[in-house]
Symmetry: C2
Subunit: 243 residues, 2 copies
Amino acid sequence: MRFTAETSSDGVTEQLFTLGEIPGVLWTPEGAAGARPLILIGHGGGQHKTAPGVVFRARRFVAECGFAVAAVDVPGHGDRPKVEQYHRIVTENQARVDAGAKLAPLLAAFQALVARQTVPEWQAVLDAVQQLEHVGAGPVGYWGVSLGCGLGVPFVAAEPRVRAAVLGLGGALASAEAAARITVPVEFLLQWDDERVPRAQGLALFDAFGSAEKTLHANPGKHVELPAFELDSALRFFARHLG
Amino acid sequence: MRFTAETSSDGVTEQLFTLGEIPGVLWTPEGAAGARPLILIGHGGGQHKTAPGVVFRARRFVAECGFAVAAVDVPGHGDRPKVEQYHRIVTENQARVDAGAKLAPLLAAFQALVARQTVPEWQAVLDAVQQLEHVGAGPVGYWGVSLGCGLGVPFVAAEPRVRAAVLGLGGALASAEAAARITVPVEFLLQWDDERVPRAQGLALFDAFGSAEKTLHANPGKHVELPAFELDSALRFFARHLG
């Protein structure tokens, strides 16, 4: 793990790092020492580890809860090179949708493929970040919607260090089987008028989670129109389960 | 409006009253003076104005938000006499369910009938309570699930003083038309394994609300198994919209 840059503002320290080929970023309270809960944020499709929405959420988790937060670029995103195989599939999928195919099953299959790479990558990032003195081996949470849900569900299912997850804007096609293996508390965000994920698919994914405590938060609006108060709710959810 | 008893404990004053034939209870912060938000709580079927769940919620709204809270007995409940017509319908419905009829449409029709009486009753209670110096004409919220939802939806639709409502454990059969006339923020509670309200009916009621801001909170469990953290959420919801 190699740190390449560090800045601090408003009480939050941001450290850019690489772990092998994976570019990442770690946010911690300025001057932090000792173990603390860690949230891994999975970014959305076409976004990256320091997209505005990722940074905004990360800074709130750090400033308001004292947590550490990490995010990494998904293959083919941010500072990572184009992956020829993934790029070809995205292009083919777009052509199929233009020809009238349904988007949801194509997206689901694509995300399941990428997850085979990202699950071990994110586990390696957890291993490395939790060795740092100012992060340590505290409880881990996961926050990810859309692509971050499609990749997050198999990750949370595979990773026992994750104790609570906020997921959403995803459907059952990709990940119902992995969702059934998740038993930690889940807060699941569904946009009632989501133009990319059919409502029934989102409800079916919520239904599939094996968790005894799972809560569905559905709000009107399209895929990218999550209301701001859901971040307040996510903060309290993680504080309750990791704090 | 006639007050019949008053007690205070833990900073909350509880006043029993009657308004005509309606027995009610008002909770306010001890020593309260001046206007404040008011929450009307509608109790569930077979319950009454001082059922433990009503009192528990009321005291938290008062103690943590400084609100006033009122609750009244629904006809045929608590300190009110049996209503022969309602009693007969309940008995007939039970016989029909025993004979294999579906409960939800019978409940829906019954609640719609009772609402024709309770909507004007509750409006009269608002009129009277808001004349009190320690309540005043502040913004009003409504909290009610199950019967409190079946009666609450037509009440909230009819009453412009209500600025925000927590509703739930109800279905679209009774009240989709009234729900469509509601435009204030709604937090809607749905139990994913509700044995009395079919899931599709609950989702359809959420869908029917005309509100630009409405949020569905669905949790695993049966009709009466609302998780405790939803009361925390209701407190914040009312604080945000009435505070």
